[in-house]
């Protein structure tokens, strides 16, 4: 165990500091809403130039073979600056699935495109009414045909799908047990993408598939391995998202501290009132504990699936609750200003709420962790 940053990590954080600090803040975030995809494609290209999009990818695909710690550190920086880019979907989630694909050559080519910023891939797994933590809750069916498959089904709230050219879809192949994963072009015939923004400025989409015809090579992962591959990929995405939450909290408590020093009422800085000092102290405690739990989740990421899942769920409890406390108290410290779109704290509020509820909310993760204690 070593808490010091490696050289590559220091470099990564330096570059993150430079690029993200220059292009973040309330004005930047508000402008992004007018971008058709919710983020600036130019900055995505810069992510590629800096090697961020190649970070966790295998060398064979032109990647940097970065560790989960590297990915987490970069995501802390992305979280601090409330980046809306689909980093986790493409670079963490999709690439983790692609790495396991049977056709290595094709997978490497696709990951190469992800690394260079020319391809974005999103996962469309969650179905209406399904348990967000379940990898098996899939009703979408794939029927085998002479030259491939025909898919029919519905997916709800696929994160970052609106900016993805390719989707990874989970489906059950007729007469087979388990869940298979398919790579499907977002503009395939019979596939509709109903896109919308989320409260934090990122985008999601509902996907409907009506007899979508696919060639045989669309099958990325067969029914025998689909759930295990999904589980690991979603786990990694969960770690990255929690890293973003930690980054968001760490930025938020600084903003609130600054505000408490500047804002005066009754002839004194509001930070001189003990009521405010105690709120800020609680925010600090929660944020510190949140980063600790991120480390716990990372430390267990190579353990057997059940242990790994329990560690992430435990992390999501502490980080989720910390996110609520920090974001809610953050607004409270700001008074009326906290409710405006013109102050950063309201943007942190929305992002923290969004992070808490993606890939299973606080309630689900509490249940899962509780179950693991008595399994």
């Amino acid at each position: 165990m070593d808490f010091a940053k490696s050289d590559i990590q220091t470099m990564l954080l330096d570059s993150a500091e430079r690029l993200l600090a220059d292009s973040s803040g309330v004005e930047y975030w508000r402008e992004r809403r007018h971008d058709p995809l919710g983020f600036d494609e130019g900055r995505w290209a810069q992510f590629a130039e800096l090697g961020w999009l190649a970070l966790p990818l295998p060398e064979a695909a032109g990647g940097l073979d970065g560790t989960i710690e590297d990915v987490a550190l970069l995501n802390i920086a992305l979280g601090k600056s409330l980046a809306t880019e689909p980093y986790v979907s493409s670079v963490v989630l999709a690439s983790q699935i692609l790495r396991q694909a049977a056709d290595r050559g094709r997978a490497d080519a696709l990951m190469g495109e992800i690394a260079s910023g020319t391809l974005r891939v999103a996962l469309a797994h969650q179905e209406p009414g399904a348990d967000p933590l379940s990898t098996e809750a899939v009703v979408t069916v794939a029927r085998r045909t002479a030259d491939g498959f025909v898919l029919t089904g519905a997916k709800l709230m696929a994160a970052d799908a609106p900016s993805a050219a390719q989707l990874i879809l989970s489906a059950r192949i007729e007469d087979e047990d388990g869940v298979a994963l398919f790579l499907v072009p977002a503009d395939a015939d019979g596939l509709t993408v109903d896109a919308y923004p989320l409260i934090d400025g990122t985008r999601a989409a509902d996907i409907r598939l009506t007899n979508v015809a696919l060639s045989a090579d669309a099958l990325l992962i067969g029914s025998n391995r689909g759930e295990a591959v999904l589980d690991e990929a979603i786990h990694r995405a969960g770690v990255a998202l929690m890293a973003q939450a930690v980054g968001a909290m760490e930025a938020c408590i600084r903003i609130c501290g600054d505000y408490a020093r500047e804002r005066k009422q009754f002839g004194a800085a509001i930070g001189s009132f003990q009521a405010i000092q105690h709120i800020l102290a609680d925010m600090f405690v929660a944020t510190h504990q949140a980063r600790s739990m991120l480390y716990h989740a990372i430390a267990n990421s190579n353990r057997p699936a059940a242990e790994r899942a329990a560690a992430l769920s435990a992390a999501r409890i502490v980080i989720g609750e910390a996110g609520q406390l920090v974001s809610r108290s953050g607004i409270q410290v700001h008074g009326g200003y906290g409710l405006t779109d013109e102050y950063a704290v309201s943007h942190y509020f929305r992002r923290l709420m969004s992070l808490e509820k993606q890939y299973g909310d606080l309630v689900r993760h509490t249940e899962r962790f509780g179950d693991s204690l008595f399994a």
């Binding site: 348990d131 709230m157 309630v363």
Partner: protein, 399 residues
């Protein structure tokens, strides 16, 4: 003490329920249920006021001589509860609950005659111009000045957080008329025509996509001197009166009861993993706790309404309502979002009507987050939670 249910009140409730059912237009009710914004549209609020006024029930809580209903506090409680339960548009708070009582208590005959009928009949939306950029919790430090020149006040300054000012034809303002005395003594209560030259309103974009909050800039605005309510220098006293008058309404008990029912509707409808959210023990436990807290709040409200002798200053009991009431508003709206799960993250453009529902996106989805986000303000407006606790500690313990 006699606490058993009163059959007479129950028949009153029946009468009120039937009355609302008869007079509340169906489309208005539907809009109130599905709106993707925090408040009813100004048009619906005003139209509803006119309808109620036609039946003599627009300002039920006012004294009879000014159009009130002469009901007991318990009857008023039931009336309000039934209005919210029926999804009636809320009142123009500024007029009916703030300015109105100040006017009939302290205003001149001329001002009463001029403005009370307007308020009763919902003819205008009223802006409340108290807070300033530098004067929020420390309201008494406000700087907007009104200088008497001949028979006019010349008003200069800036207000902020003036809810609905962009739609308001009239506003009531706290202004400084005397800079030489102790801050609280130099404040006056002035009615200003928002259409006057020199009044500029900027809408403030909010966390939930709405822009109901406003900044109001006052640049040499001329206001007839007879629009000063009561005595010059008494504005602070009137403002405190007004906030105290609001005591039990600041619990938002009626609103919270309706919203908790809505949360239950959501939990009965939404499914996760084949199970209704309400069948999930984790949610059951949360609903149970929130409902129990809300029942406690209701009894606390009834005790304040009845002026129960507690051995503590009555204002301390009233502080309980504001502190706990605002917390519960937030707990209930967050419970709604949690019951919706990730669906609550979808952003909907605010508007008076919800988009057409679908199988996955029921009518109760749009609007919940819009309202929950702005409900973070419940522990800020009307005196922040921290300031309320300071006051309570002083009132209850003399600290």
């Amino acid at each position: 003490m006699e606490l058993l249910h009163d059959p007479e009140l129950e028949s009153f409730r029946k009468e009120i329920r039937a009355f609302i059912d008869e007079v509340l237009p169906a489309e208005m009710k539907a809009r109130q249920r599905t709106k993707v914004q925090n408040n009813a549209t100004i048009q619906d609020q005003q139209e509803w006021m006119r309808i109620l006024n036609g039946h003599g029930r627009a300002v039920a809580h006012w004294p009879k001589e000014y159009g009130g209903c002469d009901w007991t506090p318990q009857q008023l409680f039931i009336f309000n509860e039934e209005l919210y339960a029926a999804d009636a548009p809320e009142f123009d708070w500024g007029g009916t609950h703030m300015l109105g009582p100040v006017l009939y208590t302290f205003g001149s005959e001329a001002l009463r005659e001029r403005f009370l009928p307007m308020i009763r009949n919902g003819e205008t939306y009223w802006a409340q111009g108290f807070s300033e950029p530098g004067s929020g919790s420390d309201l008494a430090s406000l700087r907007t000045s009104a200088e008497l020149v001949g028979d006019k006040y010349i008003v200069n300054g800036q207000k902020i957080w003036t809810s609905g000012a962009a739609h308001a034809r009239w506003g009531f303002f706290l202004v400084r008329t005397d800079k030489t005395v102790k801050p609280q003594k130099g404040i006056s209560f002035l009615i200003i025509d928002m259409a006057s030259p020199g009044v500029t309103v900027r809408q403030i974009p909010q966390i939930n996509g709405e822009a109901h909050l406003c900044e109001v800039f006052l640049d040499n605005v001329e206001v007839p001197a007879d629009q000063l309510v009561g005595e010059p220098g008494m504005g602070w006293t009137y403002a405190k009166f007004l906030l105290e008058h609001e005591r039990t309404t600041s619990s938002f008990i009626y609103w919270s009861k309706r919203e908790l029912e809505r949360a239950k509707e959501i939990a009965r409808h939404e499914r996760v993993g084949g199970r209704r959210v309400c069948d999930d023990p984790a949610y059951r436990a949360r609903f149970a706790r929130v409902q129990a807290d809300l029942i406690a709040l209701e009894w606390s409200v009834l005790r304040v309404l009845a002026h129960e002798e507690t051995g503590f200053p009555e204002a301390a009991a009233a502080s309980v309502l504001k502190i706990r009431g605002s917390e519960l508003q937030q707990e209930i709206t967050m419970l709604q979002l949690d019951a919706l799960g990730a669906k609550s993250l979808r952003y909907y453009e605010p508007g008076p009507e919800a988009p057409t529902p679908s199988a996955d996106w029921a009518e109760h989805v749009p609007g919940r987050t819009t309202i929950a986000l702005i409900t973070r303000a419940a522990t800020i407006y009307g005196g922040t939670k921290q300031v309320q606790k300071n006051i309570l500690a002083k009132l209850a313990y003399g600290l």
